[in-house]
């Protein structure tokens, strides 16, 4: 019986996992959520912005990681909308502009005046080199908006030349170009405050930059998105997902324990088969 724990079919585990994830989404449990210092620092960086400040928002994620990154982007955009600041959206990832458009729509930014309160400057290729070019010449690097109109023809771009003219940069980026590139090419030269959203797996990679005060705060994975939704008092999909996340982790821990019990039982049984008398083999 115990030995069979070793051979639970993988497909059954996946089915149990999917059911376990779906159940709290339909019937939320409401597991308590604490707010981390990192998330609070991001919140405070945006809360301290004066109305009319200019924020660059990097939609540097794609469809493959949208599920983890978009809740962060939506929560921060909702907060920015409440702060009455101006948002310049841009992307160093191909799929960023279209996901940025969706995010602007979902958060109500599209009810504001395009080109005055917010703009989507689209995508520019080139990775870290283009991030450096952006820092030194924003209208030159992003010379058109997403629809191909000259970026300088929009009132929001008046007085915007370099990263020094930006009050805060927010980048939601699961990979490269990402926070590290902004630190190396923008913060190092212009000291423009930077806040970033990264997937859970990248937290340890970006944390040293927060320690060194090169980044003001990081949102790490879906828990940070949920915490941010609570901070802005607009609980959404991320908060709903946290119950499912907790149950999934419990399942993983349970399966690890069960499989180890099965492993030990199998080891004991094979020892008994090899040495039925239970005596040692030493002479």
């Amino acid at each position: 019986m115990m030995r069979s724990l070793q051979s639970i079919p993988r497909s059954w585990l996946y089915v149990i996992l999917i059911v376990l994830l779906a159940w709290p989404l339909i019937k939320p449990i409401g597991i308590k959520l604490d707010i981390s210092d990192e998330t609070r620092r991001c919140y405070e960086a945006i809360e301290s912005l004066e109305p009319g400040s200019v924020v660059v928002f990097g939609f540097d994620y794609s469809a493959g990681n949208k599920a983890e990154m978009e809740p962060q982007a939506l929560a921060v955009l909702r907060h920015l909308l409440r702060r009455n600041v101006k948002v310049i959206g841009l992307a160093f990832v191909e799929q960023g502009p279209i996901l940025g458009e969706q995010a602007f729509q979902k958060t109500g930014w599209t009810e504001k005046q395009y080109g005055v309160d917010y703009i989507n400057l689209g995508y520019r290729a080139g990775g870290q080199g283009t991030v450096a070019a952006f820092a030194n010449d924003i209208p030159g690097t992003f010379n058109t908006d997403i629809s191909g109109k000259p970026s300088t023809s929009f009132p929001i771009m008046e007085g915007i030349k370099t990263a020094a003219d930006i009050d805060l940069i927010v980048t939601i980026a699961p990979g490269t170009p990402g926070p590290e590139d902004y630190v190396r090419q923008v913060f190092s030269s212009y000291q423009t405050p930077l806040v970033c959203g990264v997937p859970a797996v990248a937290i340890t990679q970006v944390a040293p930059y927060v320690q060194a005060k090169q980044i003001k705060g990081i949102l790490g994975g879906s828990p940070a998105a949920a915490q941010y939704e609570l901070l802005i008092e607009q609980p959404g999909d991320a908060v709903a997902a946290m119950d499912a996340q907790s149950l999934a982790h419990l399942l993983i821990v349970a399966v690890i324990i069960l499989r180890n019990i099965g492993y030990l039982a199998e080891k004991k049984a094979s020892n008994n088969t090899a040495n039925p008398s239970g005596r040692g083999t030493h002479s």
Binding site: T144, R184, A200, V201, P208, Q214
Partner: protein, 196 residues
Amino acid sequence: MSTSLGVWVAGLMTIAIVSLVWKENPYYRVAEHLYVGVSAGHAVVMAFNNIRDSAVKPLMAGNYLWIVPIVLGVMLYARYFKQIAWYSRFPVSVLVGIGMGVATRGAIHGDFVQQISATIRVGSLNDVLLLLFTIASLSYFFFSREAKGAAGAIPRAGRCVLMIAFGAAFGTTVMGRMALLIGRIQFVLGEFLGIM
């Protein structure tokens, strides 16, 4: 249930992709190939728009310097023709040179100077631990002389620190993958089936 064709396509594709966890099947294969194809197609269109907006439009507006990167870009394709393949080395060398220059300049200040100065600035217990763990981890990669006896304890401690860091990274990777699955389940149950 949604009445939008786009949501139906996305919902069915999500179910087709997730069906792999049960077993390999043709629906999964179709969805997988569609995803790769659509992503590649989108990337090509975005790259075309990028060249049009960043280079061709300024060139047409009279900024003739843009002819240089355009010509260098075209030269990259010379590698597909044996006799003139060596032409492609020029743009590659420019790309590597500029890339190295930009990256090194940023890395020296952002990754070395500021990181080291932040690590050695000790003001709290956390800072002390950070400094000790950094030294221990770095010592693990010091291969010039074998650390024996008491000195060997430092790289051994460094290995433990690295293992803790890898464990944390693995744990957060699992959390990240769960978040992706939860996102798709939310979409299927919410936007697609409307039962959430």
